[in-house]
Homo-oligomer: 196 residues x 2
Amino acid sequence: MVQTATRSGSEARRTAILRGAADVFRRKGFHGAGMREIAEGLSMAPGALYYYFESKEDLLYACQMLSLKRLLRSGRAIAAGGEGAPSKLRRLVRAHLGHILDALGGSFAHVEFHALPEPLLRKVVSKRDAYEGLIRRILRAGIAEGAFRETDEKLAALSLLGALNWTVVWWKPEGGRDLEAVASHIAETFLTGISA
Amino acid sequence: MVQTATRSGSEARRTAILRGAADVFRRKGFHGAGMREIAEGLSMAPGALYYYFESKEDLLYACQMLSLKRLLRSGRAIAAGGEGAPSKLRRLVRAHLGHILDALGGSFAHVEFHALPEPLLRKVVSKRDAYEGLIRRILRAGIAEGAFRETDEKLAALSLLGALNWTVVWWKPEGGRDLEAVASHIAETFLTGISA
């Protein structure tokens, strides 16, 4: 019991650190962010931060993986549901924006994945590929259902991911467009664009 | 005459350096790229590279500005033409992909602009805003013409820019989709998505 409580406390601490780090990455870019600054933002001693994460690359990797795991988990649940493809895509778009803009506070990390060293990059790319594959399967199902026109579903998936991921570059909570408005605009324009 | 020839030779050299640097940024990310590596790729001594560009930030800034100037120049020429808005957007999409994928050899620099220090970042952001404004004007003209439905033209412009700019993350010349195919897919899906 005690061990479980400690472990979940440590998990919560790690998540709080990732949220703080993601915020600094977003404001300064990966290159401009420093471990010291990330620690200061969390009112931690730098040494305490290094206890959780060995390096800035480690932090970026953990940000990426956390956000990709959430994207995959919600994406799989949506894909497995009984609705039609258009409604699945609408929910996936909303969940995607929630994960990349809300959960990690505007995670620019999602864009700067090329800053990762090779073995970590490979793991991130494989999760990204799985997520892209999931979107392509929903698109193919929609074409088979007759809801979407025949289209290059790889290009369609990547265009949608582009519109979604680019929000981390421009979206700000105080910018006058809430997440719901952005999600419904992107989903409706895309769904109309590929509708049969 | 001699001076002009020298200046244009030096301009050509600078452009060749930017192309080489953009290629290294794309493969390694801004963080992972080194001045030495960029110089080696160009068969230059590092000292010769520093003669043209003081730092890696300087190089990234020059890459950005070159590509933004090209985007703005072609965007303004297209916007000033006599065609309808849908046809202007089709041409802008094609020109955009040409500038970011062809001219600077897959310039990942276009995505990593947050790595720039503050005063340079401000100049880049102001050019980006001008380009976004240009797309929004074409969108408004299309709504006024009755070609596009009433839509939030800021969200529409940013979604289109997202789909376009994200190509630097995934597009490869050898990947089986040529620029024309990508441009026409993105343009058609977007234009159908916002059509009246």
